[in-house]
Amino acid sequence: MSLSRRDFLKIMGGTTAAFAFPSLVLQGCKKALEKAAERTQVIWIQAQSCSGCSVSLLNKMDPDIVSVITEYISLNYHQTVMAGTGHTAISVLEEAVKKNRKDFVLIVEGSIPTKDDTYCTIGEMDGRIIGAREWIERLGENAKALVAVGTCATFGGIPGGEPRDGSGNPTGAVGLAQIMKGKTVLNVPGCPPHPDWMVGTLLHVLLKGMPKLDEYNRPLMYYGTTVHEKCERLSYYKSGIFAKHWGDEGCLYEVGCLGMDSCCDIPSRKWLGGVNSCTGCGAGCIGCTEDVFPDFGRRGVFKHLTAKNEKLIRQEHRAPFFNYRNGGVVHG
């Protein structure tokens, strides 16, 4: 594998990375690269997922996905892209489990059901159908790094949402960190996560070790600021111009944008190489990188447009997010 410093910066996501990596760190990069000359094995398990994270991964640019899987990593198991079917596919997992291999990174996409293993099963071993949870526990034990991609795998996401009738989550879906207690799980949330976040985080682990993390184990280089701070519409907010409906001119706060309470760099990074962003298209942020998505207590995603009392909404400006985290009911 050959990778110049410039390339490395590019992978990590352009200018953002320049701030995240002091030059001293980068000097050590070359050595790390030589060490990593043999591409790192990656086992990517999908549990209760929609494959959205994988589809998002295919949108990787600079380097493109072909480079990623031929030059940087060796994607040994990934249900949606691998050639193998049935036992030829499962032989990869079997090999890793039975020989106690430790030379791979485990990436998990989708939440993991804990109420009953039959809620998600992947293949069979020794004539027994194996649940996603069992694979993940056995592989995770030995993996040299654990990465959860997408909000389902990090925090439970929508499959881990609470039904409002109080009946409890149907499948007991949880994130990877709750299955692998006591191990460090690197979280790359987002629904879906930006491909730069996934590849950048992975390569950082492979080449430079753990990136700096926030309290939710998210890499600070991507999740270090709120959407609001980077928003294209920030100047509207500062001048007090608020959109009344989706797509209108102005700050989208009153439409229900959760940009103040959610951390990621989408407004500056944008999707698909600069085409558009969540706030840019006029819909607003839905807070998909946060652990409380999609419940936000009982607030939900699009609260404001249906609120009955507009006055209440106005008073709510910059309501502390921690209310939502604690399951508090917010006005409106």
Binding site: Q46, L58, V66, G86, S111, L272, A283, V301, F302, L305
Partner: protein, 521 residues
């Protein structure tokens, strides 16, 4: 007789396995097994109806736009509004772009590895840098791993695979197809750029809302879109179509394998505000006879599904209580039936329904293709027919989409406005790339009282029904020759041609008849 369990079926969306019984080299019985359950719709209940639009897209990461559109439509029905012209056109454009993304992804990145031999790269002599990069990679994999080939280190994700005399032999065809594989990655990404330019991002567009979309159409957006459409049309005509034909020529048997002939389509791309005229028509085909679609005839049966709830219910009244250990049940999918019959949905269903509805564009494309193989219409009711139908659909969509851009009012409002009523109910029917998709909602006190989706993969990957009649995939598998029971690639080819999406198929909510009954159409 040999019993073979193929678990997991990879290169599809989600967790599916297939159990086949093989006798004298042919499949004599088959079971389609959905291996994942999330309980999505149960989680929807009690939430803000507007949230359904975002949450339902997360049912599937490959066709989120279709779910978003179905959800918007059912909310519009409940609110008593229609999208304005800009909203309708922009939504169609987004849906069209996601069709291209999904179909290209399916043919090249999901299905092609069943036919194309990636090791042919070693014989490549040309100068294409991308292909050479891949070639260097394959060489490196082969050389450095020599003598210590074990499953976890050899050439993932392209190896291991089913080994045998299964793949195309002609080196040039293989290399050309591999070049197509790489090019298609770029083209499907461009399709996603088209989605994102209207929907904010892709997958899981954020800008789909009841009444239309949030993105105001700008001149630069339209210009970019036109450029993408032109390039994609070139790709479909010059590359995609040719590869489908190359695969068909090399595997002509597959016009006779994976047969099924009952079809259902809800109609795709409304061409007018009243939603009466479609680009691809609505209808039901049984034994090559076309009839009109009547939603009252839809039932879901659960005798062989892991649910304790009642069977043979209309989706409006559908119940879904998971029962993991249910005796005799083998899947998380229900068995939907139309007028008591299992129905295939998807690109082939849309093409056949449109063909029999005298759709000129579809007729022309299908007849041209049939002419190349000197075949009857019934030949397309097959594994290869499904792949061909996707390519034909891409071509027709692209030819039309350019004209839609001219209908847009630049910088005009992209949606109609709405007042959310306290109570209401609604239905939204559309087509996902994989087939007929419907969402239903009951609203009470501006909250979701009941939300129900009936999705394509449930239609074709569902299990036996209450009478023991097999689902479409199960029926299509019967008679499939299996040359090597240890490497049953033929069965995998048949299943993949349907493009199953299991995350979609296992949806489910508990219906509650007390809250409200759905009214159909």
């Amino acid at each position: 007789m040999a019993k073979i369990l193929i678990d997991p079926i990879t290169r599809i969306e989600g967790h599916l396995s297939i159990e086949i019984d093989v006798e004298n080299g042919k499949v004599v019985d088959a079971k389609s097994i959905g291996d994942m359950f999330r309980g999505f719709e149960k989680i929807f209940r009690g939430r803000n109806p507007l949230d359904a639009n975002q949450l339902s897209q997360r049912i599937c990461g490959v066709c989120p736009i279709s779910h978003g559109v179905a959800s918007s439509k059912c909310l519009e029905d409940a609110f008593g509004i229609k999208p304005n012209n800009n909203g309708r056109v922009l939504r169609n454009l987004m849906l069209a772009a996601n069709y291209l993304q999904s179909h290209i992804l399916h043919f090249y990145h999901l299905a092609a590895l069943d036919y194309v031999d990636i090791t042919a790269l070693l014989k490549y002599k040309g100068g294409d840098s991308k292909i050479n990069r891949l070639k260097a990679w394959v060489e490196n994999e082969v050389n450095t791993k020599k003598g210590r080939i074990d499953a976890i280190t050899a050439g993932g994700p392209f190896l291991p695979r089913y080994e045998g005399d299964f793949y195309i032999k002609d080196v040039d065809t293989n290399i050309d197809a591999i070049a197509g594989y790489v090019k298609a990655l770029e083209m499907r990404m461009r399709a996603h750029k088209m989605v994102a330019s209207i929907g904010g991002r892709a997958p899981h567009a954020i800008g789909l809302v009841p009444g239309g979309v949030t993105q105001v159409p700008t001149r630069s957006m339209i210009r970019e879109y036109k450029k993408h459409i032109g390039d994609m049309l070139d790709f479909v005509n010059d590359v995609y179509m040719n590869h489908v034909i190359a695969v068909a020529k090399a595997f002509e048997d597959y016009f006779k394998i994976g047969k099924y002939s009952n079809f259902l389509a809800y109609g795709l791309f409304e061409q007018d505000a009243e939603e009466k005229k479609y680009l691809l028509q609505r209808g039901v085909v049984s034994e090559s006879k076309l009839t009109a679609f009547d939603p009252e005839k839809v039932r879901e049966q659960v005798r062989y599904s892991r649910y304790s709830s009642g069977s043979n219910l209309h989706p409006y009244e559908g119940q879904t209580d998971p029962q993991p250990g249910k005796g005799g049940a083998y899947t998380w999918l229900k068995a939907p039936r139309y007028d008591g019959k299992p129905m295939e949905v998807g690109p082939l269903a849309r093409v056949v329904v449109s063909y029999l509805s005298e759709n000129a564009a579809v007729k022309k494309e299908v007849d041209t293709l049939l002419g190349k193989f000197n075949a009857e219409l019934s030949a397309v009711f097959s594994t290869l027919g499904r792949h061909a139908a996707r390519a034909i659909e891409c071509k027709i969509i692209l030819q039309e989409a350019r004209g839609w851009l001219d209908e847009l009012e630049v910088n005009g409002k992209p949606r109609s406005t709405f007042d959310m009523p306290e109570n209401g109910e609604g239905m939204g029917l559309t087509e996902a790339p994989r087939g007929a998709l419907g969402h239903w909602i009951v609203m009470k006190d501006r909250k979701i009282a009941n939300y129900q989706c009936v999705v394509p993969t449930t239609w074709f990957c569902g299990p036996r029904d209450d009478n023991g009649v097999r689902g479409p995939v199960e029926q299509a598998l019967i008679g499939t020759p299996i040359s090597d029971p240890k490497n049953p690639i033929e069965a995998a080819r048949v299943v993949r041609s349907f493009d199953p999406c299991i995350a979609c198929a296992v949806h489910v909510v508990e219906g509650d008849r007390e809250i409200g009954t759905f009214r159909v159409c």
